[in-house]
Symmetry: C2
Subunit: 318 residues, 2 copies
């Protein structure tokens, strides 16, 4: 993060009907032997690779929206692995955004799938190799712990949904509790508790040499003990950010909702209170679709928008 002076996360959320020109080349293929799912897959892969290449220098991570790849079945899984590998080669961290949550054995299977794979009687099965994953905490602490344990074992991180960016967040997350506070504030407490299990301050002792566990470019440790259990806090409700930071002083915040959903970087400074590495600003449609607003080549417009966000955030958090 320090090396790139960036807190910007490129969201890869490809809509097959809204790819960059060139990505659609496969559409007019005369080769009727190739099924639509594979032609869509090639176009999406090409689009995402071009997007990564265009904006990587302005970003610190990519966020893979798993749904968009799952809709392509087996083809989508192959593309996911290829994109994760390409992002790593471009020096970016990989965030797998699937918002999973389930009972213990199932959570373990999801964690294996998204992090480092698992040993089986047939030999090792590889995982996606994500550095961070998003997790849904509705089912409670025992549904999150397997994700945290799996992340901690490899120096990766977990980002727990706390207060999301969509209007519907008001329906459940904002409900007031009899004991005071709101549901999302209780979720924030859970995040803080799970992070404290680590024995703060600092991740250095346990995390090994991963991207998240210290060193100059790491997400934590170097910033004085950021936790490996972070939170998703929508950028669309900045009035909650200050309170969220109070409740989770050492959590990394993933901040979705900038751009297409209406959030503004200028409102996010509380996220950076513990240090520059404490906030990750994710933008998807506003970067990939920048040319629709600014005109010009998609790659050039995307890079300019990512660079604009990067400068704004880095300046704000200094």
């Amino acid at each position: 993060m320090a090396e790139r002076e960036s807190q910007i996360v490129l969201g890869l959320d490809p809509d097959p009907a809204a790819l960059w020109p060139g990505g659609l080349e496969g559409r007019s293929s005369q080769d009727v032997e190739v099924p639509p799912v594979q032609r869509a897959g090639v176009a999406i892969l090409r689009h995402c690779l071009a997007l990564i290449d265009a904006v990587a220098p302005a970003c610190v991570a990519v966020k893979l929206q798993l749904a968009r790849f799952e809709v392509l079945g087996a083809t989508g899984q192959t593309i996911l692995s290829a994109l994760a590998a390409h992002a790593r080669e471009a020096g970016l961290l990989v965030i797998a955004d699937g918002k999973r949550g389930d009972i213990d054995v199932t959570a373990q299977a999801y964690a294996d799938s998204l992090f480092g794979g698992r040993e089986t009687p047939f030999g090792p099965v590889p995982g996606l190799g994500a550095d961070m994953i998003t997790v849904n905490p509705l089912m409670g602490r025992d549904s999150i712990e397997p994700f945290v344990a799996a992340a901690r074992a490899i120096g990766a991180g977990v980002l727990v949904l706390v207060r999301t960016s969509n209007p519907g967040a008001a329906d459940v997350e904002d409900l007031e509790l009899a004991g005071g506070g709101r549901v999302w504030e209780r979720l924030a407490g859970l995040v803080e508790d799970l992070g404290e299990d680590l024995g703060r301050p600092g991740l250095g002792g346990t995390g090994g040499e991963s991207a998240l566990s210290g060193g100059e470019g790491g997400l934590s440790g170097g910033e004085g003990g950021l936790s490996d259990v972070g939170a998703v806090v929508g950028a669309t409700a900045p009035e909650h950010l200050l309170r969220a930071r109070e409740l989770m002083p050492s959590a990394v915040f993933l901040l979705p909702g900038v751009g297409a959903q209406g959030g503004r970087v200028e409102d996010l400074s509380p996220a950076f209170a513990p240090g520059r590495a404490a906030g990750l600003i994710t933008a998807s449609r506003s970067i990939a679709g920048a040319h629709l607003v600014a005109g010009g080549e998609p790659a050039v417009a995307a890079r300019a928008e990512a660079e604009r966000l990067r400068e704004l955030a880095w300046g704000l958090s200094g």
Copy 2:
């Protein structure tokens, strides 16, 4: 359901380290060219096909635990499709258990993936073809509506997490609200609201000729207006069942937690108050692992256990 006199759902939740003998044959393969993930995939596919063949006559549906297949990457997606097709051929409904939940466009992508696929500029991309899917409601109404709309368009159904079967359910779902009631009771209200949008009573007018929308073997309509928005209510806390039924009089309940998690069929009668089709009892490890308790051939023991559960539930709900 009426035809099979069964409310039993076979959970397919295969652990590669606990397959039926025979499923492990691939382990000792001399063909070192075949990577572990494919050998594991073949063994899991074989295990699940054998399990379906053994118990199908005692069941009404299979529940695919998506995590267990996702851990096998692209191979897992291919297996999922094959198992869904085999289950349909065996006359079973298919429940995709992924507990997804996300903002609108993402929820739509998940729905396309698990139900009927989607149109793209490259041609139609197929979906898994599930009859029902599980959904996580933490992000609120607008995160569930795309699933409900997609289900309704094809006469399928959605099962919303309301009160789950794990101990951690107490952490968030059981929190008391300032306005009275608990979080899970509010989720139950959301389920009821979303079901009412349909214009009850009865699904007959909108659902088309699907398995869920009426007719002799259907899950609803024939039972006098069951909703296409159901609820996941754990069988491990039967004290909540009566209240859940009060709050959701026309919802189908998916009841996990029987067997390995400690739930008992005998305690589930409130689920069936609106009719026999109003409760689906899902069992995974207790069926697949029945031979570990009862001895004998795995297939024979599994069938006997499924048959025992079927008789018990059918008798209870009569």
